[in-house]
């Protein structure tokens, strides 16, 4: 079983906030982490490998420093890490990202499964998984909460729906995106950490994966960001003053109709 796990390095979202003085993003001290959903995809891949044998390749697209998450993936059980990195990828939307990852996966050769987290916490689009499957021309299922059985070239799993779940059977090769319920990711082992420290991370450029210049980065992206703004505050606000008790009294007076 050869499994490719797609991993994104993201800013730790809970630390990202707007500086009220300058109205810019406060970046100081914002750590880069492995996208939490991808951690579950990786864990599932490693578990499948442990049961069925094979290889787990961690794949990431990003700037050179994204190498860190690939090393982390190795410490959690991935066999090797591949980073696709090229200045030409800058500005990629989900279409161009899917295309780039698609080319990268094909460059890595045949595979049985591609696993992705349901979405990345910085963009929350959940589009790259299905987009990548479409690029690779393999069947896919999103929001997998449990893999029930893997028998030969067939896979039974549970896919989360808004009102419950569907039990789905699909053939291998395929792509799955997973939700957090699927497993509890392990803590990196000591051996894993030592292996990760020494590991060689393969870096592939746009040319290495045979990507067409008009399909990558901003040029390859059908969408454009045309405006970025801070959300407008509501106009009618009243901030009470005084002691806690005085503030509560004023509030209760105003909330009359709800009480």
């Amino acid at each position: 079983m050869k499994i490719v796990v797609c991993i994104k390095q993201v800013p730790d979202a809970k630390d990202v906030r707007l500086d009220p003085e300058t109205n810019t993003l406060a970046r100081e001290g914002v750590e880069s982490i492995m996208n939490p959903f991808d951690r579950h995809a990786l864990e599932e891949a490693v578990r499948i490998k442990e049961e069925h044998g094979g290889e787990v390749v961690a794949l990431s697209m990003g700037p050179p420093q994204a190498e860190t998450v690939l090393r982390e993936a190795i410490s959690c059980g991935a066999d090797r890490g591949v980073l696709v990195s090229d200045r030409g990828f800058a500005g990629a939307d989900t279409w161009a990202t899917s295309y780039t990852l698609g080319n990268a996966v094909q460059t890595l050769g045949e595979f049985d499964m591609v696993l992705c987290g349901k979405q990345a916490i910085d963009g929350d689009t959940a589009q790259v998984g299905p987009g990548l499957a479409t690029q690779l021309r393999v069947p896919f299922v999103t929001c997998v909460q449990k893999i029930r059985t893997i028998e030969g070239k067939s896979l039974d799993l549970e896919r989360m729906m808004d009102d419950g779940y569907d039990v789905v059977r699909l053939p291998i090769p395929c792509l799955l995106t997973v939700v957090k319920d699927i497993n509890e990711p392990r803590t990196p082992s000591l051996k894993g950490k030592m292996k990760a420290k020494k590991a060689e991370i393969t870096v592939l450029s746009a040319a290495d994966i045979g990507a067409k210049p008009d399909c990558i980065g901003l040029a390859g992206s059908p969408t454009r960001v045309v405006n970025v703004f801070s959300p407008p505050p509501r106009g009618d606000r009243t901030v009470f003053t005084g002691s806690a008790e005085e503030q509560v009294d004023q509030l209760v007076e105003q909330l009359g109709k709800y009480i």
Binding site: R186, T187, P188, S189, L190, K191, G192, K193, M194, K197
Partner: protein, 382 residues
């Protein structure tokens, strides 16, 4: 303070801390209340390779030394001394095989221990043999190709949970201390059973049971080392294990200090956080001094032991006494800093204070440790 740890040592600390934060701290109150053994947490530790730290590389471990174990235990004890004790007792239980075992015995047990497939426990204490180990009444008699063991071991940490037990028994009672020999007894051996689980004041996540041997028959090759060397093996084992107990005190003291400072910054009385009061600052300062001094002494002792000196007993005993007395003092002070809240089970310092007490008692009471130090001084100055 920077102790100039190697990259590997930092990884050990980091890994132990991660497990502690993710798995131990969220569970500790429940384990304590239910008197429950932390099987799952220990399995997680095994998956993270923490059980391999003290196993030589040729048996699938990391070949780490005393300092490496000390670092791991310190981090674990910051979460729960009960859980950390279960880990420490596993190391203690397998040290006799590491120190005096045959190649075959090492091949048989060490890889499983390194992977966490089997756990170990150490069987020394008996009802009449506590501080005075010469009172051991368990006997082992050779009968053809088998040893036959009879006797009861008391308060054995990991008893009933471990699969591999290193047991000391008298093979030649007439020879006194030179008549004791160590054996490996395995879970399921005929005539081997467990007594009741003890209900303890603290470290309630750890399991403490009697080991009962009634005509317990084991193969001849389960003897560890030569006949009559049991006490030497026990002494060597305790020499390298004591800094681990010291480290439990260190981690616990650090955790209590952390809780106390955090609380003192939040708690407002007379219009300001209580940390602003000098009485409080002095108390916290004394706690911090003691914690750091214990750390420096333990790390130094562990490095000393890792150098394999001829005599390690004094250093080993010194750090055990200092750090565990410190833990008792600092946890008691932490409860004082938290005042009424500290006395309630809602806050973790109450458990910490209960957990601290055993550290002054087990693996040689602190009085016995002082005896050891005193005897060593007597020798040194002769």
């Amino acid at each position: 303070m920077d102790y100039l740890l190697t990259e590997e040592q930092q990884m050990i600390k980091e890994t132990a801390r991660e497990i502690t934060e993710k798995k131990v701290i969220p569970m500790r109150a429940e384990l304590d209340e239910r008197n429950a053994f932390p099987t799952e947490i220990l399995q997680d530790m095994a998956k993270a390779d923490l059980f391999g730290i003290f196993v030589p590389e040729e048996y699938g471990g990391f070949g780490g030394g005393c300092l490496d174990i000390v670092l791991a235990l310190e981090e674990m004890a910051r979460g729960c001394v009960g859980v950390a004790t279960s880990y420490a007792a596993n190391a203690l239980g397998i040290f006799p095989v590491l120190i005096s075992g045959s190649k075959e015995q090492k091949e048989k047990y060490l890889p499983d221990i390194a992977q966490g497939k089997r756990w170990a426990a150490f069987g020394l204490t008996e009802s009449n043999a506590g501080s005075d180990a010469s009172g051991i009444q368990t006997t082992a008699v050779l009968d053809g190709d088998e040893w036959v063991l009879n006797g009861t071991k008391q308060w054995i940490t990991n008893g009933g949970e471990a699969q591999v037990y290193t047991i000391i028994a008298m093979t030649d009672p007439s020879k006194g201390p030179r008549g004791a020999t160590m054996f490996v007894v395995e879970d399921g051996d005929p005539g081997f059973s467990y007594g009741k689980k003890e209900d303890k004041m603290g470290i309630r996540a750890s399991a403490t049971r009697e080991l009962i041997m009634q005509d317990c028959r084991i193969p001849k090759d389960r003897m560890i080392g030569r006949r009559g060397t049991g006490f030497i093996t026990v002494m060597k084992t305790l020499d390298i294990s004591r800094p681990g107990i010291a480290s439990l005190g260190l981690g616990l003291g650090q955790a209590a200090l952390d809780e106390a400072v955090t609380y003192a910054k939040q708690r407002v009385q007379f219009g300001k956080p209580i940390i602003a009061f000098q009485a409080m600052q002095h108390m916290l300062a004394d706690m911090a001094i003691q914690v750091e001094a214990a750390r420096a002494l333990i790390y130094a002792a562990a490095k000393h032991i890792d150098n394999n000196p001829k005599n390690m007993s004094k250093a080993s005993s010194m750090c055990k006494v200092f750090a565990t007395d410190m833990a008792m003092k600092v946890t008691t002070d932490a409860v004082q800093v938290l005042g009424g809240y500290g006395y309630m089970k809602e806050y973790p310092v109450e458990k910490m204070m209960r957990d601290a007490k055993i550290l002054q008692i087990y693996e040689g009471t602190n009085q016995i440790q002082r005896n050891v130090i005193g005897q060593e001084l007597n020798k040194e100055y002769s």
